[in-house]
């Protein structure tokens, strides 16, 4: 009797077609990022807890999976991809700007103690980070790359929503509230909870101008040009106007490049604000309840590593994409030609050398004993009785070259 060895919550085994599909998604994205000039990088699976704790507001302490090192220091399993990469970049940043564009394929670990699905504690993320000088050119490229990420795996009905961290930031600077109150306002905005936001603002000493602007924020989303026009009246200081101009410029370029259909705007997008400083974006696929891409420009993070640099990047939630790809049935796995060579003790040598020839010709080949049960749909080559069985059509052969011809491989041509 097999021992029942359960898996911990929030993790899963992946095998067969499902894993192959996941790898196909990752391979396609790697190819895309490679063509965009990104270098692959890897950071360690665990690092010091202090690394993440020194950066306020980015990581929830409770969500980190912690380990104790032999010297008593606390380690955490990689709870986030960007912070370690920023650490690495601060140690190894190149003077050549284009070398500072990186991509990663990694696992992220989070301690979720509530209800959990099979990837809530360990999930795969692919992403791009670019340590640059904050130029608009790179904003355009990263937004396009985010859209292309979803196009690359052929999912339909995709949408990338753009926000601007500077817009809300500048509005908050005008209001001069303490961090706690700001967090409350942010939480209401995140839920687009106009009613409770209005109640909250009533209780605060804030100018009517700021109040009105804040109450407009939950409405400033949707078709890009429409929102940008509406937002003009909400921009009550120069900084807000500047943030809006940046976003307008970006949208113009994206429209020019034929990406208008994929993008929309939400100026009420205020999550992860202690992180992002410029353009922010979230990728959605219709019919799927969660964002599958999250990214934006973050300057603040780099200052913790004494690095004078801006940065822009995004992460792609691969496990969610895998569910979507299965739902939409976009990527089909190729079914390669398969061959099985049947042998006995006396023909082992011939079997192995035939197998090598077939494999060199991209035919997936296995070797089995004559009396093994084999998949009837594969090409069955019986090396003992010297017959080839292709789709039930059994034919004799004399030499290995004849076998190769019969299974569709011809020498000398090409």
């Amino acid at each position: 009797m097999a021992l029942n060895q359960p898996l911990p919550q929030g993790v899963t085994d992946l095998y067969a077609q499902e894993y192959e599909l996941k790898q196909t998604i990752i391979d396609r994205l790697k190819q895309l990022y490679h063509h965009y000039g990104c270098q692959p990088i890897q950071t360690p699976t665990f690092e010091y807890y202090d690394l993440f704790m020194n950066i306020p507001g980015t990581m929830n302490d409770d969500q980190m999976i912690k380990l104790i090192d032999t010297d008593g220091k606390v380690l955490v399993l990689r709870p986030d991809a960007t912070v370690p990469i920023a650490r690495m970049a601060s140690q190894a940043k190149s003077d050549m700007p284009l070398l500072n564009k990186m991509y990663y394929v990694t696992n992220i670990f989070r301690m979720e103690s509530g209800e959990s699905d099979r990837t809530s504690r360990s999930f795969s993320q692919v992403g791009v980070e670019w340590f640059d000088d904050g130029r608009e050119l790179n904003d355009i490229e990263m937004v396009i790359l985010a859209v292309d990420t979803l196009k690359q795996i052929e999912v339909s009905d995709i949408q990338l929503e753009l926000g601007q961290a500077g817009f809300f930031r500048a509005l908050m600077d005008e209001a001069q509230l303490d961090a706690e109150t700001e967090a409350l306002i942010q939480a209401k905005l995140e839920a687009k909870n106009e009613y409770e936001l209005s109640d909250l603002l009533e209780s605060l000493q804030v100018s009517d101008e700021v109040k009105q602007a804040l109450l407009r924020l939950p409405h400033l989303f949707g078709e890009a040009n429409h929102v940008l026009k509406d937002a003009k009246s909400v921009a009550i200081n120069d900084q807000m106007a500047k943030a809006l101009d940046q976003l307008t410029g970006l949208v113009e370029h994206l429209t020019e490049l034929g990406y208008a259909d994929y993008i929309s705007i939400d100026l009420g997008l205020v999550n992860h604000l202690n992180y992002y400083t410029g353009v922010m974006f979230q990728g959605y696929v219709e019919g799927y309840g969660k964002p599958v891409i999250q990214g934006g420009r973050y300057d603040q993070l780099m200052t913790y590593f004494n690095l004078e640099s801006s940065a822009i990047g995004f992460g792609v939630y691969i496990d969610d994409l895998l569910r979507i790809v299965k739902q939409q049935q976009t990527l089909q796995l190729e079914e390669p030609n398969q061959a099985v060579i049947l042998t006995n003790h006396t023909t082992t040598k011939e079997a192995f050398s035939l197998a090598q020839s077939l494999r060199q010709n991209q035919i997936v080949t296995s070797i089995a004993y004559e009396d093994d049960v084999v998949d009837e749909s594969s090409i069955i080559i019986d090396i003992v009785s010297k017959t080839v069985n292709i789709n039930g059509d059994k034919q004799p052969f004399e030499t290995i070259d004849q076998v190769l011809t019969k299974v569709g491989i011809t020498y000398g041509t090409d």
Binding site: Q159, E161, Y195, V285, E286, K290
Partner: protein, 217 residues
């Protein structure tokens, strides 16, 4: 086009919600209270009503199994649902309160034990005040807990206060007031905006017209 899925919990909230939907022209004539069916298509075929447990509305909407729903603020807080909470519908209004035997002083207990159906709301509330409490999760008849000594006090929703009175319990501290909310899945709101936004705007118009403070009771 796939119909827009609306999650409701059977009972008063569903009835009042359906009334509002009817006012904006979304009718489910195939729905009736006693039916055991759990999904109903609207007469115009553009919306699908799905009936779930009150506690689950937030979960269905958060995960996108329903595009929108109507849920009590209590269940949203307890489940910590990450959704857009777009309209305060004004009905289903009641209070969260700490209740116990008359004359109970909360500061006498170290730590205070609290029986409740809402351990998360209870913990969040007392934690935000820096008070340490122990919660005991109960699934009903919460009023019994302090009477038989299971807990020092209880945290529950108080509508009329009659149940408390009949069991000789007093409200010791009111915590927060709640009401029914129209919630929308964050992704649906973005990807199906053209179908969902008009519904929200119309519901909002009706509610704002009526004034937020009125309750049907």
């Amino acid at each position: 086009m796939e119909p827009i899925k609306i999650a409701l919990a059977k009972g008063r909230l569903a009835d009042l919600s359906l009334e509002i939907f009817e006012q904006i022209g979304i009718t489910f004539s195939s729905y009736y209270e006693k039916s055991r069916k759990l999904t109903f298509l609207s007469d115009d075929g553009q919306y699908e009503l799905i009936l779930v447990k009150a506690m689950d509305v937030g979960t269905y909407v958060e995960n996108g199994a329903a595009d929108m729903g109507v849920a009590g603020k209590d269940t949203l807080l307890e489940a910590g649902a990450d959704v857009f909470e777009l309209v305060d519908l004004g009905f289903g209004r009641c209070e969260f309160a700490v209740a116990g035997k008359p004359g109970t002083d909360l500061s006498d207990y170290q730590p205070l034990t609290i029986g409740t159906k809402y351990p998360k709301i209870t913990n969040d509330y007392f934690q935000s005040q820096g008070r340490q409490v122990e919660t005991i999760k109960l699934n009903g008849s919460v009023e019994l807990a302090p009477l038989v000594g299971l807990s020092d006090v209880i945290v529950d929703i108080v509508e009329t206060g009659n149940t408390l009175k009949e069991n000789n319990l007093d409200v010791l501290e009111t915590m927060l007031s709640i009401s029914a909310r129209l919630v929308v899945n964050k992704a649906s709101f973005k990807t199906k905006g053209t179908s969902i936004r008009p519904v929200i705007d119309q519901v909002k118009a009706i509610i704002d017209n009526k004034g937020r403070v009125t309750d049907e009771d």
